[in-house]
Amino acid sequence: ALAEKFANIFKKLRSKGKLSEQEVDAVLKDLRMVLLESDVHYKVVKDLVARVRERAVGKEVLESVTPGEMIIKIMWDEIRKILGGEARDLHISSALPSFVVLVGLQGSGKTTTCGKLGAFLKERGFFPLLVSTDTRRPAAKEQLRILAQGSKLEFFDLPQGKTPLEVVRAARNFAREKGLDVVLVDTAGRLHVEEDLLQELKELVTQETLQEVLLVLDATTGQEAVKVAETFRECVNPTGMILTKVDTDARGGAVLSIVAQTGWPVKFVGVGEKVTQLEVFRPDRMASRIMG
């Protein structure tokens, strides 16, 4: 775990007392390796280490008796800053109905998360509608329908609907008729290099008013995560992220990278396959997870 690795790094320094600049650099080199091994993006690590170094070569650290601990505390601090202060909520406005659209790469957990969000909102007094726009993946609609049934949620499908835009428009009318206040839209997975599929999403977000467009990202994603985020930003400008499979012990370095590069808030984290395993994102909890 990261905290252990960080602890080992400054254990080496315990006996040293004051640090020279070279020794600070040696510690930072180790910290850098640890972050890279947690899949934090190369450029993000570079900036982060530079900022830490700036603070670490100050008199205050170099003259401290526990310089190693101070450096780690500074690293902690900079990581927390990146992840953001408090938990951010969903923008379920007074618009009736409010729309939350889930987008992302294949297999990232969109359909499952759609089901989880439905249950989450129902528990908080909302009347959600789960909508599938995935006409590509075998049994995708059936998967969402089963999840809806499992949590006694309303489900909408437009069998003849070919594009997400058509389905969302019909879903809006359906939600209004039924007095449902939040529409959760599941979309088909798509790669950040599949231009026509990105265009399909772009059409949806530019032609419909959507309160939230959330990028659902697998916590095990490696260095490609930043490229994925930038492409989705150009195309659909997400309002936030949901990080899934955090339970697979992935250290969420991808999250740190994407938040650092995009400034997007992480709204929720998926911590398992069950419908109840969705948590509101807490920056300090994720920081301690990244740090070990």
């Binding site: 890279l36 947690s38 790469l105 059936e142 998967q143 260095q223 490609e224 012990d249 396959e273």
Partner: protein
């Protein structure tokens, strides 16, 4: 550029950055750059750095057994078992392999041992229809080990030649799910001899260093014989493969390059390395 006398520090950093961004991993990236630096100091020859890197990375991957069932008897039943964490592409890959083997004249049966996830059996059933092969389904909530047991006996009775087992996605840190997979493998080994079993771990090319711990945990319980790397069409380099091959000696047998039934190709080390280096 790299054959001149002085190489700037930034250029070494650029090489390291390129390797890290291919998901090769920081320690291996540092190792490779240091080796290259030492070589340059000792040998006065210039040489093209890309060529050196290409050859070096290729050495990790040669002597890899990339064929399916290299030692199996073709007259007896063979089993392919697919495992991996959630969402990597197991079910889709099972369909693709079924199609591939049917085209080769095999009598294939696709087995749905994912009795847990919503619409898992419906999803695999569509693939069986697309691959035009028999589908053996486990009832919802049934024990996967029991499903595999029954499916292999059914395959023997039916005269099938290959059984392809799709298992449920699982977190590689969940002890119960690892135990479940271990049981499925044990059941299979009771019914077929080792050369008749191909136990393949499916890994998503977009995965970072976490892939290494996936292999580590699942290798302990699933007697892995190989790896399938999916979503390589994402243009993610899949550099974690080098660490995996070096540490576990597991060959990559196939690569998924899309969502269609034909989008599965045999692993080609040259093409894989070329995509990273050039």
């Amino acid at each position: 550029l790299w054959s001149r006398k002085e190489v700037k520090e930034e250029e070494w950093e650029e090489l390291e950055a390129m390797l890290i961004q291919a998901d090769i991993g920081p320690s291996m990236a540092v190792e490779l750059v240091e080796e290259f630096r030492r070589l340059r100091e000792t040998s006065k020859s210039g040489g093209d750095w890309q060529n050196w890197l290409y050859e070096k990375l290729l050495t990790f991957l040669k002597n890899s057994e990339t064929r399916l069932f290299p030692n199996a008897s073709l007259e007896n039943l063979r089993v392919i078992l697919l495992s991996g964490i959630n969402g990597v592409g197991k079910t889709t890959t099972a369909g693709k392999i079924a199609h591939l083997l049917k085209e080769k004249g095999e009598r294939v049966v696709l087995v749905g041992a994912d009795t847990f996830r919503a619409a898992a059996s419906e999803q695999l059933e569509v693939w069986a229809q697309r691959a035009n092969c028999r589908y053996f389904r486990g009832s919802a909530g049934a024990d996967p080990g029991a499903v595999v047991f029954d499916s292999i006996n059914s395959a023997r009775n039916n005269g099938d030649s290959v059984v392809i087992v799709d298992t449920a996605g699982r977190s590689h840190v969940n002890k119960n799910l690892l135990a479940e997979l271990e049981k499925v493998v044990k059941v299979t080994k009771k019914l077929v001899e080792p050369p008749q079993l191909e136990s393949l771990l499916v890994i998503d090319a977009l995965t970072g260093q976490n892939a290494f711990s996936q292999v580590e945990s699942i290798a302990r319980v699933a007697d892995l014989t190989g790896i399938i790397l999916t979503k390589w069409d994402s243009q993610a380099k899949g550099g974690i493969i080098f660490r995996v091959v070096r540490e576990f000696g597991l060959p990559v047998k196939y690569v998924g390059v899309g969502e269609g039934i034909e989008d599965l190709v045999p692993f080609e080390p040259e093409e894989f390395v070329r995509a990273i280096v050039y």
